[in-house]
Amino acid sequence: MALLELKHLTVAFGKGDLTNPAVDDVSFAVDAGEVMGLVGESGSGKTVTCRAMLRLMPPGLHHRISGQAIFDGKDLLATSERELQSLYGKRIGMIFQNPSSYLDPLSSIGQQIAEPLIYHEGLSRRNARARAIELLRQVGIPDPRHNVDAFPHQFSGGMRQRAMIAAAVACQPDLLIADEPTTALDVTVQAQILRLLMELRDRTGLAIVLITHDLGVIAATCDTVAVMYAGRIMERATKGELIRHPRHPYTAGLIRSQPSRARKGRPMPSIEGQLPDVNSLPKGCRFHPRCAYAEPLCRTGVVATEPVGSDHLVACVRWRELEFAA
């Protein structure tokens, strides 16, 4: 059984049209030890999906959620707040793009890593501090004995992200939700952080949901990938299958428009048009206004998600006819 199974998650905002919600019928599953990439452009709903699934939507924002998020047999969307508190930080860890806005500027790094250990595992302050030093060493912070007493502002961006990873994995969670963990970092530091996440996975069997807009990061780390566009999953497959044989025109377009794949002196393949606005999402397939292969059925019909092979799902009316060279 999958560690996390998201079934038909739908999120509609405030006055949003319930028949055309911002996040529409998103389903995926993550096994223990699996790294799943959720890739999409800005506004595609990847962050909202993860926040809604964890019931971490910003307070005061009017929204309706339906569907199920089953983590180890329990539906996160139906359990009590108290139960969620006992899961977060213990069995589910989270890291975000901008560590400085999630780290408390007034407590030391060591205190913030020790907090979940004291809360969930009942460690004494002294023992928690010793564990914090050990964790800092594991995530590659130099001189952890000294840096355990440092404050976030004394750390560089990469070190803050390492510290946040240390706090997120302090209680050895089963699942880590990583929302654009390397987007704000330089490429040499990004390589170090990705390597660290993969080492943690190999050592502890951690499952990771990696949210990113960067297909290069996906190719480097993920086992499976879900491609989101305008609030819907367009395609889901194993990494190799997705990059070698994309079946959805959007996935194929994304792969082709990577600058590293472009041939010099020739126009770069691009996807014309722009991302739709959340308040006026297109009917039918949400990609149809930008799709070179759109036909009348795409504009009105319901797009079913169909299996292409054993580990490959695609939400495109025309997938049987279309072939894309990788």
């Binding site: 452009e41 800005s42 560089s156 961006g157 990469g158 070190m159 330089d186 490429v187 040499t188 530091v189 990004q190 390589a191 170090q192 990705l194 390597r195 993969m198 807009h213 960067d214 297909l215 290069g216 990061v217 190719a219 480097a220 780390t221 990494k239 190799g240 990059i243 070698r244 377009g253 994304l254 792969i255 428009s257 990577q258 600058p259 590293s260 794949r261 472009a262 010099k264 126009p267 770069m268 393949p269 691009s270 996807i271 014309e272 722009q274 991302l275 930008r290 990788a326």
Partner: protein, 337 residues
């Protein structure tokens, strides 16, 4: 042939805010050398990439060329004239012939002006065409950058990021700029939109005699658009040459690590290698000797002291690294042609 833009030994310093104890003891705060003796030459029609990690001084260099940030020393010759010492009138003329495109598509447009007003303002300031022709001129500019005329009366908040960036490029073209310095023009845009802007820049460059200085951290973008590239680290150039040579066969250990760290878009890619340790340094703490030696996997004792290494000519490009023998005839500034 003389270069269109020749930067020679340019130094840009910032005053650091200093520490509390420095302030209390009334010590002058140290100055940070953001750009530390950079020399570059761009010929007409060149497209030149400047790459490096955050804080390496690449944006400061671009800004200093336009005197948006004052330079401490060095020269910036544009068509033979030193921009840094120009008086008001030639400076205005320089700014007509050279234009900058910025990273933040929204921040670089005046939110109170419509697209039409933004573009006609430039035409007016530089007196490009008579007032009664401005409307036609603006519409033809919009067409040239692929925007529909219907957008002319919108303000920045009514446009998407990609559209704003097109307006930014149209503004640079409005005055018939010969040199465009584009500072991370696509890094704020989504992947599917990035390709559109890159195509636009590439097309404009091929069409006319446009000279492009592209400042970017994305090596794929530079490889696609540029013929030559310079890699910057901590305010200095460490390697410079034709794009294919530098990226396919990097000589400087920093360029090698940078290229190795990029995640590959291939189905069998693994996590990128990690020959480089540590993080980009703080320009306040500039090491002795080669600026890269604290992170360099190949550092030797002689890298750690003295002056930064001089340029060496290696396999058709210039490298500032002690691993390579000093060539007797390597030009210390200027370009290998």
């Amino acid at each position: 042939m003389s270069a269109l833009l020749a930067i020679d030994d340019l130094v840009v310093t910032y005053r650091s805010s200093g520490t509390l104890s420095q302030w209390l003891s009334r010590q002058a705060a140290p100055r940070i050398r953001a750009v530390d003796g950079v020399s570059l030459q761009l010929f007409k029609g060149d497209s030149f990439g400047l790459v490096g990690e955050s804080g390496c001084g690449k944006s400061t260099l671009g800004r200093a060329v336009f005197r948006l940030t004052p330079a401490a020393s060095g020269t910036v010759l544009f068509d033979g004239e030193n921009v840094l010492t120009m008086s008001r009138r030639p400076l205005l003329e320089f700014r007509r012939r050279a234009q900058m495109v910025f990273q933040d598509p929204f921040g670089s447009l005046n939110p109170r002006l419509t697209v039409f007003e933004t573009l006609s303002e430039v035409l007016e300031v530089h007196n490009v065409c008579p007032a009664n022709q401005r409307r036609d001129r603006v519409l033809s500019l919009l067409q040239r950058v692929g925007l529909s005329a219907a957008l002319a009366d919108r303000k920045a908040h009514g446009l998407s990021g990609g559209q704003c960036q097109r307006v930014g490029i149209a503004r640079a073209l409005a005055v018939g700029a010969e040199l465009i310095v584009a500072d991370e023009p696509i890094s704020a845009l989504d992947v599917s939109i990035q390709a559109q802007i890159l195509n636009l820049l590439g097309e404009l460059q091929r069409q006319g005699d446009l000279t492009l200085l592209l400042i970017a951290h994305d090596l794929g973008v530079v490889r696609y658009l540029c013929q030559r590239v310079a890699v910057m680290y901590l305010g200095r150039i460490v390697e410079e040459g034709p794009v294919e040579r530098v990226f396919d066969d990097p000589c400087h250990p920093y360029t090698q690590s940078l290229i190795e760290a990029i995640p590959r878009m291939s189905p069998d890619a693994g996590v990128p290698g990690q020959s480089i340790q540590g993080e980009p340094p703080n320009p306040r703490e500039r090491p002795e000797g080669c600026p890269f030696h604290p992170r360099c996997p190949k550092a030797m004792p002689e890298c750690k002291s003295g002056l930064p290494p001089s340029a060496r000519e290696v396999r058709g490009r210039r490298v500032w690294c002690l691993l390579y023998p000093e060539s007797t005839n390597a030009p210390q500034s200027g370009t290998i042609k």
